[in-house]
C-alpha cells in the first residue's frame, strides 16, 4: 500500500497536483492512499518552503511545482 500526501492549504495548484496523482495511481492500478495535508503545522514537518508538496511513502519528492505524470509514475514505480 503506497501512501501519498499532497501538502498545501487548498490553493489551486494543490488541487491540480492531487488530481494528477489520482490519475497516475489509477493508470498504474496500484493500491494507494491519497491524503491531503492542509494544516500548516503538519505541512511544516517536511522541509518545504513552497506549496504544493508531494510526499510518497514519507519521503518529500517535490515542492513548489506540479510534477508531470511521467515524474510521478517514475517515483511510484521506483
Amino acid at each position: 500500500m503506497v501512501n501519498i500526501k499532497v501538502l498545501g492549504s487548498g490553493c489551486s495548484n494543490c488541487k491540480r497536483l492531487e488530481a494528477i496523482a489520482r490519475k497516475v495511481v489509477e493508470t498504474l492500478a496500484i493500491e494507494a492512499e491519497i491524503e491531503k495535508v492542509t494544516d500548516y503545522a503538519e505541512i511544516m514537518k517536511w522541509p518545504i518552503l513552497s506549496t504544493p508538496g508531494l510526499v510518497i511513502n514519507n519521503k518529500l519528492v517535490s515542492a513548489g511545482r506540479i510534477p508531470s505524470e511521467t515524474e510521478i509514475t517514475n517515483w511510484l514505480t521506483a
Binding site: 498545501g8 495548484n13 517536511w46 518545504i48 513552497s50 506549496t51 518529500l60 513548489g64 511545482r65
Partner: protein, 348 residues
C-alpha cells in the same frame, strides 16, 4: 568508440532547441504584423474614421491586446527560464547568516528572481524564520516578491516603456529594503504566532539537476499558467483603457490626479490597498489615466498598493502573524509607497 552518433537525450534536446528557434522567429514575425493589421481592420475593414473617438479607441484596443499578450508570453518565458536557476530553498541558503542591511538588500533582489506565489507565503515565512533569518529580512523578501512581479514589469514595459518599468523596479526594491529594515528595528518578534517558534527547523530539500530541456518545458508551463490566468484581465483592462483613450478629454484629470493635487498620492494608496486586482487589469487603465493628466508618482503609488499590498496575501499571512504585526506591515509599506509617490511627483 563512436562519438558521432548522438544519444537519444541529445537528439530530443536538439529538437527542442530547433522548435524553440521556430517559435521565436514566429513571435518576431507576429509582433511586427500587429500595427499594420490593427490599422487595416479599423480603418479599411470596419471603415472607421481616423481621428474619430470610436476609430481611435478600436485601433488602440486592437493594437494593444495582441501586443501585450505577445510581450507577456515572450518575457514570462525568459523570466521563467532565469527562475529555474533559483528556488526558495536556494534563496534561504543565500540569506542565511546575513546581517540586517545587507540581508534586506539581498532579500529584496532575490524577491524578484525567486519563483513565488502568495499561496506559499506561509510555508516560506515559517521556513525563513525557523532557519534564523531575521524578521525584517524575511519581510523585505515578502514585500519585493509580489510587488516586483513579472506581469507588472512586462505590462509597464509594454504600455509605458522601459524607463517607467525600470523606475518601478527600483522603487519597489527601495520600498522593500526600507520597510523591511523598519520592521526589523521595531523588534516585533513577539507578534509572530507562537506555534511558528515551536516548529523544528527541518533540513533542506535535495537539489534537482535540470537539463535545458527541463528548463524550457517548465518555462513553457509557467507561460501557459500565467497567461492563462491573466489574459481576460488584460483584455478587459485594455478595453477600459481604450475607451478612456478615445473619449475622455485631454487633461481632464490634471485637477484630481495631477502633481498639484497634494492629496492625490495618499488617496491613490487608500483606494489601491483594498482594491485587489492583478497588475494585468490595472496597468492599462492607469496608462490611459496618465495620458489624461494623472502624474506618474500618483499612478505608480496606486499600482504598487494594488499589486504589493494585496488583501489575499495579508489574509494568508494572518495565520502566522498576530494582528498587530499585520497592521505594522501594511502601515509601513503604505507609508513607504506614499513617500515614493511624492518623490516621483517632485523629481519628474
Amino acid at each position: 568508440m563512436d562519438h558521432s552518433l548522438p544519444r537519444p537525450a541529445q537528439t530530443s534536446q536538439l529538437r527542442m532547441f530547433l522548435l524553440l528557434g521556430a517559435v521565436v522567429a514566429a513571435w518576431f514575425g507576429l509582433y511586427n504584423l500587429i500595427q499594420p493589421l490593427a490599422n487595416w481592420i479599423t480603418y479599411s475593414f470596419l471603415h472607421l474614421q481616423a481621428g474619430s473617438h470610436l476609430g481611435d479607441s478600436v485601433a488602440f484596443f486592437l493594437y494593444d491586446v495582441p501586443k501585450i499578450l505577445l510581450l507577456l508570453s515572450g518575457m514570462i518565458f525568459l523570466i521563467s527560464i532565469i527562475r529555474t536557476f533559483f528556488s526558495p530553498e536556494r534563496t534561504r541558503a543565500l540569506l542565511g547568516g546575513k546581517r540586517e542591511g545587507v540581508g534586506n538588500v539581498l532579500a529584496s533582489l532575490l524577491g524578484i528572481v525567486t519563483p513565488f506565489c502568495s499561496c506559499s507565503a506561509v510555508p516560506l515565512f515559517i521556513g525563513f524564520i525557523e532557519s534564523g533569518i531575521p524578521l525584517g529580512v524575511t519581510f523585505s523578501f515578502l514585500i519585493a516578491a509580489p510587488t516586483i512581479n513579472e506581469v507588472a514589469i512586462v505590462m509597464l514595459f509594454g504600455l509605458f516603456g522601459w524607463k517607467v518599468a525600470g523606475l518601478y523596479i527600483v522603487s519597489g526594491l527601495i520600498i522593500a529594503v526600507i520597510a523591511g529594515m523598519v520592521i526589523g528595528r521595531m523588534h516585533l518578534e513577539r507578534y509572530v504566532e507562537d506555534f511558528v517558534w515551536q516548529l523544528q527547523a527541518a533540513g533542506g530539500v535535495e537539489g534537482e539537476k535540470l537539463t535545458w530541456k527541463d528548463r524550457i518545458l517548465r518555462a513553457w508551463d509557467s507561460v501557459k499558467e500565467i497567461v492563462g490566468k491573466v489574459w481576460l484581465y488584460v483584455i478587459v483592462g485594455i478595453a477600459i483603457g481604450a475607451a478612456i483613450h478615445g473619449y475622455v478629454p485631454e487633461s481632464a484629470l490634471v485637477g484630481i490626479m495631477g502633481k498639484q493635487a497634494w492629496w492625490s498620492v495618499p488617496a491613490a494608496v487608500l483606494v489601491g490597498v483594498p482594491l485587489y486586482s492583478n497588475a494585468a487589469g490595472v496597468i492599462p487603465i492607469v496608462s490611459a489615466l496618465m495620458e489624461k493628466g494623472a502624474s506618474l508618482g500618483t499612478v505608480l503609488a496606486f499600482m504598487m498598493s494594488v499589486v504589493g499590498l494585496s488583501l489575499p496575501e495579508t489574509i494568508i499571512l494572518r495565520r502566522v502573524l498576530k494582528p498587530q504585526l499585520i497592521a505594522v506591515f501594511i502601515g509601513t509599506v503604505a507609508v513607504a509607497i506614499i513617500i515614493t509617490g511624492y518623490l516621483f511627483n517632485l523629481i519628474l
